[in-house]
Each structure stands twice: as C-alpha cells, then as structure tokens.
C-alpha cells in the first residue's frame, strides 16, 4: 500500500493536522482511490470484492446467531430450532449464515481458478498467492467447525470422522485427537472448543485478508493479458472505475445468494443434520459439505489411512508450490494454447472428484477416484513443469492497451479530457 506515492492532500486544517499524525486518509486514498487498476479486468476480478463482502456478511450474521445459540451438547440443537422458530427473523439470519458459507466457497473457488487460468500466482505475486492459500485453509477449518455447531447427526459424525483423521499421524496422532475432542470421543467439550474457535478464526481470516490485500497493492493486479501495466494508458484509477464495477458485481452475486436463502435454503445441507446428534446411531453415508467433496474423494482414494490424510493435505499444500512448478514464462492462459486444454481438463477432474466424493466408496467409484487423484497430482507435478518447456506460447501484445483496443480502434487510447490521470508506474 505504501508503494504508491499518494496524491492525497488534506483540504481542511483538521485534515492536515490529523494526516501529519496518522496518515490513514492518505493510505485509503492511495490504496482504494488512486490505486491504478488494469483497464481490461473482467468480472472474474470482482470476486475479491465479493469475498470481502461474504466475509463481512458471515461475521455479521454469525455475531447475531451467537447471541441466541447455546454451545452445549444437550441444548445446541434446540437453540438452533429456537432461532429458526421464535427469534424474529432468526430463520433469515441462520439461512443467510448457513448458505453464506456455501456462497463464500463458490466465490473463493472462482477466485482460485481465475488465478490458475491467468497465472496470477507467478512472480512477483507469490507471497500474495500463498497468503490466499492460507486464507483458504482457514476458511476450511472455520466452515468445518461451523457445521458441527448445530449438533445434528451429520455435525456429530462429520466431526468424528474428520477429527479421527489426525490419529493417523504417527506418535502424536492420538494425543492430538484427544486434545481436539477434549476427552475420549466427540462430545460437549468438543462442541465448546469448536464454538470458541469458530468465533476466533474468521477474525484471523480478516487479518490474513489485510495482508493479502497489502501484498496485492505492491505489484498491483494481474489482468487477462498477464502483462504488467506499462503506462498510465493501461490503467484507470480504482475509484470510481473498479469501485462501481465491484459494487455492481457484489449486488448481482447477492441475487444468486438470495435465491438459495429464500427458495432452496436446505438444498446445500444434509437432511441428516435435522436429526439431533446421536452417538449410538451412525448415518448410512457420512458425507461432508459440497465444498469439501473433492478433497474427501482424494482422502478415500488412498487405501491407507495415513496415506489418505497425506494425499488430502498435499492436495492443497501443493498449490503453494505452483509459482515454481509452473515453468512457463507466460502468465495468461490466453496465450498458452496447450495449457488452456490442460486447464479445462483439470477443472473437469476437480468436478469429477467432487461428485465422486459424494458417492459411497465402493466399486468403480473407488477406481475412478484413484484415477482422478493421480491426474490431480500429475497436473501439478508433471504437466505444469513440462508444459513450460514444450509449449510455444502465442505472441504477447506490447501493452494492455494494444491488446484490448490497439488493433481494432487504431490506437485510440484514452480520449482527451478523460478523468484517468496518468500514473508513473503500475
């Protein structure tokens, strides 16, 4: 954020006095007003703003839910029903929060795959990108613990299965599990600590989000061409251009969100979770929430508990190595004809893994999961490094402006009198 010389000049005497003591207005000005944005960003770049909106929405609805929710194994289910039935608009707040988690993951997956497609993870954005992976891991932990709180059957058994995974760790596994449980099985102490952590982690996410945005403002945003801003004509100031576009995108996303909340509020959950937790009855199929399904499929693909846990963990940790596994000099897949095909195969494999994660682990489902898992890792460990050497990328445009309007409009550029002040650097 400090990388961009601010053009902010306080107007009032108080403004000058305050700015010389805490230059926060200048920071906001340089980060969210004057900050140069590539002018060719598509709507795929609005998902950052959508994710900020979702984080705030989850925290706000969550704070209200916590006012009525009781984290006690004997009362949790009942307190959720109290929220659904007796609290004014409690049903709305709870459905917003429960579906909000799913919407958060929809947005984060679009955000992640946009990053994969346009090579946003490559230098100089590696730290920005790895911070994003950390946010994703925190989101997974938060969502998992949140799903345990209603203390329904799937809450209880999901918690049992997932916490048990830690027991696969040699030597310390069993100890870790008993600390997670706060005892010798999933029970009231587990629920208490999960509630506490579920309230804590979103604020940790918010902290890492600040670092993520900070790291973004050093190199600036990537764009569909993958080439950096070279002159002021390649960019527009963040406000009003990106601001209005982000607000529009957030509102459109809210329509999508509202559709689920008001018309299909339980579709993304499990019917079993409306049955109170019962340690004596195991559900026929224990299935995690949809956003964990690809990883769940990878876990079950390996016919060894520890191996499965390692594979599942590696499936995400491997993302952190992408900046170095991808050997191509070209960022944007738009100029990588070969990688473009492999990218879409990878997307299909991820969807397949998701579907396989929802199936019982039997028969050909297991074999299909194993093939998809092998491909998933091959994508990162073989395809990405090799393609950089064998692929001949298409010629890159000289500038963003040339790519988007140069050829067609005869280099019209920014019309005279336009509001976009030139920026010395990107």
């Amino acid at each position: 954020m400090s990388d961009h010389p601010t053009t902010y000049v306080p107007k009032s005497a108080f403004g000058k006095w305050f700015e010389s003591r805490l230059p926060i207005a200048g920071l906001i000005h340089s980060s969210f007003i004057a900050f140069p944005v590539p002018r060719n960003l598509t709507y795929f770049w609005t998902f950052g703003a959508i994710l900020v909106f979702m984080l705030v929405a989850q925290i706000v609805t969550g704070v209200f839910l916590a006012m009525y929710y009781t984290p006690n194994a004997g009362m949790a289910f009942q307190s959720v029903e109290h929220i659904m039935r007796d609290v004014n608009y409690g049903w709305l707040i709870r459905y917003l929060h429960a579906n909000g988690a799913s919407m958060f993951f929809v947005a984060v997956y679009v955000h992640i795959f946009r990053n994969f497609y346009y090579g946003s993870y490559k230098a100089p954005r590696e730290v920005l990108y790895i911070l994003g992976v950390i946010i994703f891991l925190l989101m997974m932990a938060t969502a998992f613990m949140g799903y345990v709180l209603p203390w329904g059957q799937m809450s209880f058994w999901g918690a049992t299965v997932i916490t048990n995974l830690f027991s696969a760790i040699p030597l310390v596994g069993e100890t870790i599990v008993s600390y997670l449980w706060g005892g010798y099985s999933v029970g009231n102490p587990t629920l208490n600590r999960f509630f506490s952590l579920h309230y804590l982690l979103p604020f940790m996410i918010a902290g890492v989000v600040i670092l993520h945005i900070w790291a973004l403002h050093v190199p600036g945003q990537n764009n569909p061409t993958g080439i950096p801003i070279k002159s002021g004509k390649d960019a527009v100031p963040f406000t009003p251009y990106a601001t209005i576009k982000d607000i529009f995108a957030v509102v459109v996303f809210m329509i999508f969100f509202a559709y689920w909340v008001f018309y299909m509020p339980n579709y993304l959950g499990h019917a079993d979770n409306y049955i109170p937790a019962n340690p004596a009855v195991t559900p026929a199929h224990i299935v995690p929430e949809w956003y964990f399904l690809p990883f769940y499929a990878i876990l079950r693909a390996i016919p060894d508990k520890l191996g499965g846990v390692i594979a599942m963990g590696s499936a995400i940790v491997i993302w952190c190595f992408m900046p170095w596994l991808d050997t191509s000099k070209v960022r944007s897949t738009a100029y990588r004809p070969l990688y473009k095909q492999f990218f879409w195969i990878f997307v299909i494999v991820c969807f397949l893994l998701g579907w396989l994660g929802s199936r019982p682990a039997e028969g050909w489902y297991v074999i299909a999961s194993q093939i998809c898992t092998a491909y998933y890792f091959a994508h990162f460990l073989i395809i990405l490094p090799v393609l950089g050497f064998v692929e001949r990328p298409l010629p890159l445009p000289n500038s963003i402006l040339e790519s988007v309007m140069g050829v067609q409009k005869g280099g019209a550029g920014i019309p005279a009198g336009a509001n976009a002040e030139p920026h010395s650097k990107g």
């Binding site: 002018r39 060719n40 960003l41 598509t42 709507y43 009942q78 029903e81 659904m84 039935r85 049903w91 709305l92 459905y95 299965v161 048990n164 027991s167 569909p224 061409t225 251009y241 209005i244 607000i247 529009f248 509102v251 459109v252 809210m254 329509i255 509202a258 559709y259 909340v261 008001f262 018309y263 299909m264 019917a271 079993d272 409306y274 049955i275 026929a284 199929h285 224990i286 079950r300 016919p303 060894d304 508990k305 499965g308 738009a334 100029y335 004809p337 019982p360 682990a361 039997e362 990328p393 298409l394 010629p395 890159l396 445009p397 790519s403 988007v404 309007m405 140069g406 550029g413 019309p415």
Partner: protein
C-alpha cells in the same frame, strides 16, 4: 478406543459394506404441493386437517417437541383462532412447578406451552414401542430425503424442487403392503415399499375412514377420507411444523430479489456512464492470432 478408531477409519476408507444398496429403494412419486414454488403457500384447510390426523393418529406415539399451541394461531400456519387454540391447549394436562411448597403439579395447558410428549422420556418411548423410540415429528420433512442422483440434483435447483422430504414422508405413509414372495420380514418389523431396506418398526398407521374430516353442506366430507388424503394432509402439516416461516420466507425472497434486480440494473447503467469517461469498458484481451513466435 483403538477399536472404534479403526472402525471409523474403515468407514472413511470405504472398507465396510454399506447397510443397503441405494438402488433397491424405490423413488417416491413427486406430488403437487400448495407450498411448492416461489409463491407457494400452505393450504389452511389442509393444515387443519393434517393437524387433526397428527392429533388423532400420530400423537399417541410421536412427540412434536418444538411446536407450541400458540404456533397453531400464528400467521402462515393452520391459523386456528385464538379461542380455538386456548380451548385446545386446555384439553391437555401440562406438568408445571415447583410451586411455593416445592411440589410439581399438573395444570391445564396454555397457548404458550409446547405439545406434551406422549412419553416422559426416550427410554419409556422405546420400551413401549418394541425397543426403538418413535422419532419426534417436528422436523420430519426436513430430516428425511431420498437420493436424487445425476442430473436431477442439478435440475432441482432451477425448478426449486425442495419437497423431497414431503414426497418421501407421504410415500412412506402410503407405502405399506404385503412383503413380496421370498422376503422375510423380521419379528416386530413391517414391510414398507419406500422405507430404505423395506423393514420399518412402525406398523401401518393410517387406514381409510379412520379420521373424520369436516363436512360440506351436503353432509359429505370436503375431501376423501382415504389413506392417501390423510398422508398428504399430515405431511403438509408436518412441513409447516418443520418450516413455520416458509410463507414469510418466500414472500420476503420475492421482494428482496425484485429489489436487488432493480438495484443491479441501476448500478449497471451507472457503471456504464462512469466508464464512458475513459472511452467505455474494454475487457479481457484481443484474441491472439494463432501464429507462433518465430
């Protein structure tokens, strides 16, 4: 504990055989419900009939723990009159206390009371019902569903099919039949076409003519007094007990989405106008020529 861990690990890794194959259980028919779709509303008369079925049939074994008498009066439900609800509640005996002397006592029910459960606790319910307590019915259509499979689980989103629980419950209530040849129903079990695994502990609860329905001027019941109608009515009632704010939810949803559509339209044109200052929006990248670098 080790053994349990291993068991769970086996379940996770799919080494244990599933209880039953999903393909064996037939798919319930999709019925028409007044509460389906974006403008769905409950049919008051149906909810009132359904309540009568619950009260006269189901309530002898099944509790309705999350529902209070006053809920029967609130908007969006069966909407019995306040006087009816008061009279109804007074028919029940509710345990209260301790009083000033420290004793528990019984008093007539009040609208604020929840429905008294038929059994004092789960063990009593289980012992009176062949070892398995009949489940609470408050959330039944939300707590049950059936496998939709690909591609229906995708099309369901667009046609807003969220009545799978209601369809299953109705199918179950009407699904009692003779076991097919060669199928042995274990002691204390009953054959049901739609129950997963077909053996259900609950005996056939409904039979034709069992519950008396309100009559029209000609002295005929307004709707047929059949198992099929009873099943639909009680399912509609239980859908309301599971989701008492369903009508408010759908009504508000329409308003919210309408508002957001208008707002997004205004924002779209604002954005266009703003971007016109820099010659309009240009997105993405020019399609690169399909020639390679020399």
């Amino acid at each position: 504990m080790m053994k349990r861990t291993l068991l769970i690990a086996a379940a996770v890794l799919g080494l244990s055989a599933p209880a039953f194959a999903a393909g064996e259980t037939p798919v319930p028919p999709q019925l028409k419900w007044s509460f389906q779709g974006p403008f769905g509303k409950f049919d008051r008369a149906q909810l009132q009939r359904g309540f009568k079925v619950y009260r006269e049939v189901c309530a002898s074994c099944h509790s309705l723990n999350y529902v209070a008498f006053r809920n029967l009066h609130q908007p969006g439900g069966p909407e019995f009159s306040e006087a009816q609800v008061r009279a109804l509640a007074a028919e029940y005996k509710v345990q209260d206390g301790p009083n000033e002397a420290g004793d528990m006592f019984e008093r007539p029910g009040r609208p604020a009371d929840r429905f008294p459960a038929p059994f004092p606790n789960e063990n009593a319910a289980a012992s009176a019902n062949g070892g398995k307590a009949p489940p609470d019915l408050s959330l039944m259509p939300k707590a049950r569903t059936y496998e939709r499979g690909f591609p229906w689980f995708i099309t369901d989103v667009f046609r807003q099919y969220s009545e799978n629980g209601a369809d299953y419950v109705t199918a179950l209530l009407t699904g009692y039949e003779e076991a097919p040849q060669g199928f042995t129903v274990p002691q204390g079990g009953h054959y049901n076409h739609y129950y997963p695994g077909h053996v259900i502990a609950m005996p056939k609860p409904l039979s034709d003519g069992q519950v008396e329905y309100p009559k029209n001027e000609a002295g005929q019941p307004q709707v047929p007094e059949t198992v099929d109608q009873y099943a639909r009515d009680v399912t509609a009632f239980l859908t309301w007990t599971a989701e008492p704010h369903l009508e408010a939810r759908k009504r508000l949803g329409f308003q919210v989405i309408l508002f957001l559509l208008v707002l997004s339209g205004l924002l779209y044109f604002t954005k266009k106008k703003v971007w016109a200052r820099v010659g309009g929006e240009v997105e993405g990248h020019a399609t690169p020529p399909m020639t390679h670098n020399p």
